[in-house]
Amino acid sequence: MTTLRRYLAERLAAAVVTLLGVSLIVFLMVRVLPGDPARVIAGVLASEEEVGRLRSQLELDRSLPVQYGSFLLRLARGNLGVSARTSEPVTREVLGRLPRTVELAVVSSAIATAIGIAAGVAAAACPYSIVDYLLSVVTLSGVSMPVYWLGLVLIIVFAIDLNWLPAAGAEEPASIVLPALTLGAFSMALIARMTRSSVLEVLGQDYVRTARAKGLAERAVLWRHALGNALVPIITAVGLQFGALLGGAVLTESVFGWPGLGLLLIDSIFARDYPVVQGIVLTFSALFTLTNLLVDLLYAYVDPRIHYG
């Protein structure tokens, strides 16, 4: 247990260092802009007074270490600055859009997990059969498919040709179906591949042979014994994919006009609203790092076979 505690403490410390590194990169984003960052952010039409006000607001006239220290202090208070476009606090803008992105990621993750695990188990149940090869083709296509293209294809088929689902927006409950399928396709393929290899590995174990020898139905062997023992790496993959889905939502939200954080990021990049860009990048990276940390900690907690030296 002491070893486990030490491992957890080390992982926590590493996550804090990583987040500090991320904050440094995000902080430097604005400072390395070509030319006068205040002018770039304010725009060519802004007056000298406005540029000067922005410069002092962003503390660009102070030394870099002082600027970074003050940036960290503001972050610790949950202050991400003020939007150059709307003059609203960035934290409010981010928190206003974040639930939409989380909603999309949760639905995508649920679809990807359900279909991915079912497909992976089906392939492992009859390895090297036609079902298995078909699944290989589908999963390989899933990891090779550009999400932005898949999204457009789904719009053409289900929104334009069949007219079953809305093509864009988030007004109706059904609006989430196409974006969630698009965003989840990559994770679905990865989870199916991971499930197949994990279940196949477990199916070769002695206790599975024993379960079969005592006459247990194949379905029970597969779902209770094989999948039950193969779940740890699968849960890890699902958790890691959830973090990746949050970041991957940028393109999907852009394709479907889904009003989440990703769409706000793209709009802010085009509007050169760097405080908002910084706030969103920081939020995504922090969520990603924390999700990965949580998965690691859960992994250490649920699997006593793993030794942490």
Partner: protein, 299 residues
């Protein structure tokens, strides 16, 4: 002196895996991998089409003619034309050159920075290792597409900046991979022998350790090529990549989405091209992994 060490290195490896038969075995394994062969053929076909673009179509990929905008497929324009009357086939063929080039340059950048950093990290250990690993952690904590997007938002659009933005994202995977290989290789007798005869650390890393860690790097680079093309095309799709009128698959897809209701072909063909290129690299990479080291195979 270094020649003697190299001979020792070869001999110590030769006892179990003679160099040429190993290469021959790998090639045979690769040829037996049908999916990998299909991937290689797919890549050769796409590269061939892109390189032979001037011979395959007389059309100028940037030549506009608003009078024939959004024209359907015809004998003159086999895939039709886009919203500015440019020939879609010509843009697709010439666009392939740029999309594939961006992939190779970005992965080249990832290799050029990531491999030496990974080697130094694994070989030197201690504080150097800690700093390099935290650097890799920080880069890896930008989920997926976000790092390239953040870099482009600062650097600006255009070919060079896209290559940098995508290439930086490839660095941490090479750091991690090479560090792992180096950690196991540096325990080998031939590395200890090189150190014992007083060879410099740099010589040991670059002449003895890295050449023996290269197989997984080649596999990773191949798989990264697919991801690099995906990310670069994603930037182009959002309008943050290579700028029009230069043809590039992602940019073409982004331009075509506005006409998705009227002319779906404008999005179908560039998307299909990106998909086939990424699929080709994934199939080829999987096959290479199985051929170079069957123990690394996933299926």
């Amino acid at each position: 002196m270094s020649i003697r060490v190299s001979i020792t290195a070869e001999r110590s490896g030769a006892r179990h895996r003679p160099r040429w038969p190993y290469g021959l075995r790998s090639w045979r394994r690769f040829r037996r991998h049908r999916a990998a062969t299909a991937g290689l053929l797919l890549l050769l076909a796409l590269s061939g089409l892109a390189l032979a673009a001037p011979a395959l179509t007389p059309e100028d990929p940037e030549g506009q003619d608003l009078g024939r905008a959004l024209a359907p497929a015809s004998r003159l324009h086999p895939l039709g034309t886009d919203h500015l009357g440019r020939d879609l086939l010509a843009r697709l063929l010439y666009g392939g050159r740029l999309s594939l080039l961006i992939g190779f340059l970005a992965v080249g950048l990832g290799l050029a920075v990531g491999v030496p950093l990974g080697a130094i990290s694994g070989f030197r250990g201690g504080v150097t290792d800690l700093i390099i690993q935290r650097f890799a952690d920080v880069l890896l904590s930008f989920p997926g597409f976000l790092l390239a997007l953040s870099l482009v938002s600062v650097l600006g659009v255009g070919l060079q900046n896209v290559v940098i933005a995508v290439g930086v994202g490839a660095i941490p995977s090479f750091i991690r991979l090479v560090r792992g290989s180096v950690l196991s290789i540096r325990q080998q007798t031939y590395v200890e022998a090189a150190a014992a005869i007083g060879q410099r650390q740099r010589t040991i890393i670059f002449c003895h350790v890295l050449p023996n860690a290269i197989a997984p790097v080649i596999v990773q680079a191949t798989l990264n090529l697919g991801s690099a093309i995906l990310v670069a095309a994603g930037l182009g799709f959002l309008g943050l990549g290579v700028q029009p009128p230069t043809p590039e698959w992602g940019t073409m897809l982004g331009e075509g989405r506005q006409y998705i209701f009227r002319t779906p072909a404008l999005t179908t063909y560039p998307g299909l091209a990106i998909f086939l290129a990424v699929l080709g690299f994934n199939l080829f990479g999987d096959g290479l992994r199985d051929a170079l080291d069957p123990r690394m195979g996933t299926r």
